[in-house]
């Protein structure tokens, strides 16, 4: 009996330890959406996922990796590029979104076309204007690679990379991208205080922004039409293309406001380069189309001083611990410049 209890205790401790070590649940965050128990995280699987994320082997011509458009130094967004880039210098249709706190999201992409983090990577891998690869060919390349055979063996005690292992390993690395150490987070945990201007900005935020960009994730992850005019070169109808419901026309997923200093340009088509342009849009530039969100019908009245205060608060959402975390960077100890080569 003692042996059984001891065994159970060891199992329980291992589970708690694993959870604490590899997936961080910030105390002030809600319960995650992703069911970690169905893809239990391990150091070796995260290492495999991280190598895959940074390796252009995922693309048809071995030129584009996930990190090409989701740079760790830019909170896994693509600073200074309005639309995503792909193989053969192709330009995509949308701004590459920042990647963090993915465990709390119910859908992925600006239009929510992807319903599970595991399956998200398939979209850019197979998109002709992004990585242009096929899943069978990618698996062929990975299973020829001595590097990936070794990493797969370390992760799964079997050197074969299947699509399930590929996708779950990529998901594991992305699950570790938790941004919860900004000044705002420290204030919430009683470790810091806002200065006067930040506090004014916080009150303005709570009054005008929080219903869509809901704390502490700074997004409700709903779909909304935020009053942008349609770019006639893209004619992007957003969520409508997925739901085929006219009421969803021009609605896009509400992005998080964390790490804004690193993730410009803003909006689904990257049309705004600066935060003050975004605030000017909400205070003066709303396009009143049929599906404009009800919360924006009257616009947001902001004085120049209000805008300065609001930006001061938004900057407290920058998380340098996350952006410069070496665990999130290019794994030079693994890829060593051989990335993209079936070695």
């Amino acid at each position: 009996m003692k042996t059984i209890l001891l065994g159970l205790s060891v199992c329980c401790l291992a589970f708690v330890g694993q959870k604490n070590n590899w997936f961080t649940q910030p105390v002030h965050f809600p319960k995650p959406i992703y069911i970690v128990g169905k893809n239990p995280l391990s150091k070796e699987k995260i290492v495999l996922g991280r190598a895959l994320f940074f390796d252009p082997i995922l693309s048809k011509d071995n030129s584009i990796s996930c990190a090409s458009c989701h740079s760790p130094y830019q909170a896994f967004a693509h600073t200074d590029h309005d639309l995503s880039h792909g193989i053969y210098d192709q330009i995509g249709q949308r701004n590459a979104p920042a990647l963090f706190n993915l465990a709390w999201q119910t859908s992925f992409m600006w239009d929510g076309a992807i319903n599970h983090l595991d399956m998200q990577a398939l979209a850019p891998i197979t998109h002709a204007k992004e990585m242009g690869e096929t899943l069978p060919n990618l698996l062929l390349k990975l299973n020829k690679s001595s590097l990936y055979k070794k990493l797969a063996y370390q992760a799964y005690q079997d050197s074969t990379i299947s699509s399930e292992r590929l996708l779950k390993a990529l998901a594991q690395f992305q699950l570790t991208l938790v941004s919860a150490q900004s000044k705002y987070d420290e204030v919430k945990m009683g470790k810091a205080v806002f200065n006067e201007q930040e506090l004014k900005g916080y009150l303005l935020f709570q009054k005008n922004c929080n219903s869509c960009h809901t704390e502490p994730l700074f997004s409700s992850y709903e779909f909304a039409n935020n009053g942008l005019t349609t770019d006639s070169t893209l004619n992007d109808t957003g969520r409508y293309a997925v739901s085929l419901n006219r009421l969803d026309s021009l609605k896009f997923k509400i992005p998080s406001l964390r790490n804004l200093s690193f993730t410009h340009p803003y909006m689904h088509d990257g049309r705004f380069k600066k935060l003050h342009q975004v605030l000017n849009h909400y205070s003066q530039g709303l396009n009143h189309s049929k599906t404009l969100d009800i919360r924006l019908q009257k616009g947001i009245s902001l004085s120049p001083a209000d805008k300065a205060d609001l930006i001061a608060f938004l900057l407290t959402l920058n998380d340098k611990h996350f952006v410069f975390n070496p665990e999130n960077q290019f794994p030079k100890e693994i890829l060593k410049g051989n990335e993209g080569i079936s070695n």
Binding site: A113, H116, M119, L122, H127, P136, S163
Partner: protein, 213 residues
């Protein structure tokens, strides 16, 4: 003798419980009542022209007594997939397509591995029925038609509960000629996303996919 009753009961229970819970079910693809052959030309009266099918794949989902789904990818190109273990306990919960819970459950393996080309990568969801072929009457490029029928959300769900009135039947027949006779391949030659057209075709699929009498 009375003392023997519990023994007989135990023996009966043992025999009953040792009966297999599954039978080997088979799927037959028919064209005017005969076995259909891939890559062969057939005449389709409604189209007034010939038609050839190169790809015919679809999913079946069977639920266990504990409501656990089991998925079978049926592929005409691979005859061994035309049979599957059919539960004798719960035949009425056979579904054409991949069940909605699985559609939102992330990466999986075996028959529902996305490597089989039956998963849309640009919009989450399995292609429940894939039919590709050619017909001179088809106005598409190279006269090729592609029907990729999927979608699991209302109002355009393509999941269809299979009616199995004869629960002893273990043979299912897909009457392909009757199914295609009701699809206007001359104009509906390309369906590759969820929507009303896909939902309509899934109803035809259900109508012409039956348990053999």
């Amino acid at each position: 003798m009375k003392k023997m009753i519990p023994v007989f009961m135990c023996l009966w229970f043992h025999i009953a419980s040792s009966q297999p819970n599954y039978v080997q079910a088979s799927i037959e693809i028919h064209w005017v009542g005969k076995a259909f052959e891939r890559n062969r030309n057939y005449y389709l009266e409604s189209l007034k022209d010939s038609v050839q099918i190169n790809v015919l794949r679809f999913y079946l989902t069977q639920f266990s007594d504990h409501n656990k789904p089991f998925h079978y990818l049926i592929d005409l190109e691979q005859p061994e997939t035309l049979t599957f273990p059919l539960s004798t306990q719960n035949q009425s919960t056979l579904l054409l397509g991949v069940d909605s819970t699985t559609q939102i459950s992330g990466a999986q393996s075996h028959d529902i591995d996305p490597v089989h080309g039956m998963y849309w990568t640009w919009q989450s969801g399995y292609i429940n029925l894939k039919i590709e072929g050619k017909s001179p009457a088809c106005l598409a490029r190279n006269h090729e038609f592609k029907l990729h029928i999927g979608g699991w959300k209302a109002p355009f769900s393509t999941l269809q509960l299979l009616e199995t009135p004869n629960k002893k039947s273990s043979v299912f027949v897909f009457e392909l000629d009757k199914f295609l006779a009701r699809v206007d391949l001359a104009t509906q030659y390309q369906i590759m996303s969820p929507g009303s057209k896909a939902a309509e075709i899934s109803l035809l699929w259900k109508t012409h996919f039956k348990a053999a009498p």
